[in-house]
């Protein structure tokens, strides 16, 4: 019998702590597959964020560190500058990257650090209990916007990819969605490109934003969550390649 699907070696054979319907598992799987396909397992160093994915090193079978909230791009800078032959990637959520770590991601991109950043946008702070993130949608109910986010009080959702695409140091910026199989395949292509730029020693930062489900704090079923990404989130966070200077 022909094997059509199997565990990829860089992903450990263990259950994750993620909630049912959460997109982190899919994102992990894609990254692990790409690491294996590119044959870079032996020289890749990953950086886990503070947030739901803080324990990512329990799932990725590569050298990894966990760092202070939002500081991953600075840590990645220290790693890559002293180890130009290594492949450095950070995996950050929207609380981590778009709130407390805004300074670090903007300046790492601004300096054109040769790193790969995977940005998980699920429009909410997951680990701390579903509070508003900078990416929370207008009218979205969260633990800290009980009546829904308003533009008057909390402002508009922050579009990080659009911001970064303005910077010459960010050479590749793409937004994908972990919703349907078709979109997931597109996401894999984008993540792979973001890693390949680094393996090809391209001079700049590669950034992939992944719209990702959080059924628990969206107060939806997994199926509704996928639909919400497709119908609502993509209105504010349009999918596609914002920049690819290669």
């Amino acid at each position: 019998m022909k094997t059509v699907f199997k565990r990829t070696p860089t992903l450990k054979d263990c259950p994750t702590h993620y909630c049912p319907g959460c997109g982190h598992g899919t994102a992990h799987r894609l990254i692990a597959e790409i690491i294996d396909e590119l044959g870079i397992h032996d020289r890749t160093i990953g950086i886990a964020p503070v947030g739901c994915a803080v324990l990512a090193y329990d799932y990725f079978d590569i050298d990894m560190t966990e760092v202070a909230h939002g500081r991953a791009p600075a840590v990645a800078t220290g790693m890559k500058r002293t180890n130009p032959d290594k492949i450095i990637f950070s995996y950050q959520g929207d609380g981590d990257l778009a709130a407390i770590g805004t300074g670090e991601i903007i300046h790492a991109a601004h300096r054109g650090e040769q790193i790969t950043v995977i940005f998980i946008n699920n429009a909410v702070f997951g680990m701390t209990g579903g509070q508003m993130a900078p990416t929370t949608m207008l009218n979205q109910v969260t633990a800290t916007t009980p009546k829904g986010r308003t533009r008057a009080s909390e402002g508009y959702p922050l579009q990080v990819s659009e911001l970064l695409a303005l910077l010459p140091g960010a050479i590749y910026v793409e937004r994908c969605a972990l919703s349907t199989p078709a979109q997931i395949r597109k996401a894999k292509k984008a993540i792979k490109h973001a890693f390949e730029l680094q393996t090809n020693n391209a001079k700049g930062l590669a950034f992939v934003e992944l719209l990702c489900t959080c059924p628990i704090y969206w107060r939806m079923t997994p199926a509704e969550s996928i639909e919400w990404i497709e119908k609502e989130m993509t209105k504010v966070f349009p999918l596609g390649c914002l920049k690819d200077t290669k």
């Binding site: 397992h41 079978d61 050298d63 202070a68 600075a74 670090e104």
Partner: protein
């Protein structure tokens, strides 16, 4: 060479692979010097966007086993406390230089010793320590840097070099010579890519019942080892002294002058100069503390190290404090006057 430049060159001599920093007075000579010298040596220099980023760049380089440092001055060191706490939790070596200035807040840019509490009590959150070296000459800035990188690697700790604006700016002749390094453990924990071995993980998060307690106790045992083995202090004419002055850094130089003058007047003054502020020379001070002596602690602060002196003296002798906070520097004559007053007040025979 000014103190800041000497310190920077010593870091290069010590094998510092990477310098990350953000401008702040009075330490700007260090990044300026490093921006020229590190690339010359084929090493890394990055001017970061903030002190937060700088200390995290140090974290990143150190996590891969490289020798990394940053430098700043008081307000910048406050910002780095988050990173220093994470470095402590993750047991990563790092060298941090604080060329202190007056505080709190923006304070001023004059030399001060008001960061003693922050330096010796950890500064950031959690149960941890940093080794604190306090040079009092440009030569000692060099010696402390050479030692700092070794101590950091040996104990996988942050070593803080605490100097002030005077030491940073003053010029003195120095000898730049690499001393034989102590035997250091291999960095088999470093993130170098999991090639032919199990993955390495650098972390400061320890969930699960009792797991963090175990980790904290491991750190505690390490800190006790440092306390046992790494105390450095200098003492002078303490044996017959009726007044023992305790001071560190540039203040100790002024004390030395005042003590010599007092001796000329027949006042029996000796002094103790802690070089490691943590671990503090508690035992050395305790040994010479008795009822026939007065301890005078002199600091460029409103009174910080004096608390450690009191703990060391443990009530066996009076401990008097004289301080000039806010970036003011005491003079030799000022200290001599203070010493004279003590002889009157405590009826010490001349």
């Amino acid at each position: 060479m000014c103190g800041n430049e000497a310190l920077a060159e010593a870091a290069i001599l010590a094998g510092c692979d990477a310098y990350f920093g953000y401008p702040i007075t009075p330490q700007n000579e260090i990044p300026a010097y490093m921006s020229r010298r590190m690339p010359e040596e084929g090493r890394v220099f990055v001017q970061s966007e903030s002190e937060l980023a700088a200390i995290n760049m140090v974290f990143g380089a150190s996590a891969t086993g490289k020798r990394a440092m940053t430098s700043s001055s008081s307000p910048g060191i406050s910002l780095m406390q988050e990173g220093i706490s994470y470095l402590a939790g993750a047991e990563l070596p790092a060298v941090v230089v604080n060329i202190t200035r007056g505080g709190p807040g923006l304070g001023n840019i004059s030399p001060a010793q008001s960061d003693y509490f922050q330096a010796t009590r950890g500064g950031g959150h959690g149960d941890y320590r940093t080794i604190v070296l306090a040079p009092s000459s440009v030569q000692e800035m060099v010696d402390c840097m050479l030692l700092a990188f070794d101590l950091a690697d040996q104990y996988r700790m942050t070593v803080l070099v605490l100097a002030d604006g005077i030491l940073g700016q003053m010029m003195e002749p120095i000898v730049l010579e690499k001393k034989p390094s102590r035997e250091l453990p291999p960095k088999d924990w470093a993130l170098t890519g999991a090639k032919g071995r199990e993955q390495n993980i650098i972390r400061s998060l320890w969930l699960g019942e009792g797991v963090l307690e175990k980790h904290n106790n491991k750190l505690k045992a390490k800190y006790e080892q440092v306390q046992e083995n790494e105390v450095l202090c200098e003492q002078y004419e303490v044996d017959d002294a009726e007044i023992v002055v305790v001071a560190y850094g540039v203040t100790a130089r002024i004390v030395r002058g005042a003590a010599a003058k007092a001796r000329e007047e027949g006042i029996k003054v000796g002094w103790i100069r802690p070089i490691t502020l943590w671990p503090f020379p508690t035992e050395q001070i305790s040994k010479v503390a008795n009822e026939f002596r007065i301890f005078l602690t002199v600091e460029m602060s409103a009174g910080q190290m004096v608390e450690d002196v009191k703990l060391a003296v443990a009530g066996k002798a009076p401990v008097v404090f004289y301080g000039r906070p806010g970036g003011s520097v005491p003079t030799v004559d000022e200290l001599l006057d203070k010493i004279r007053q003590l002889t009157l007040r405590h009826e010490i025979k001349i």
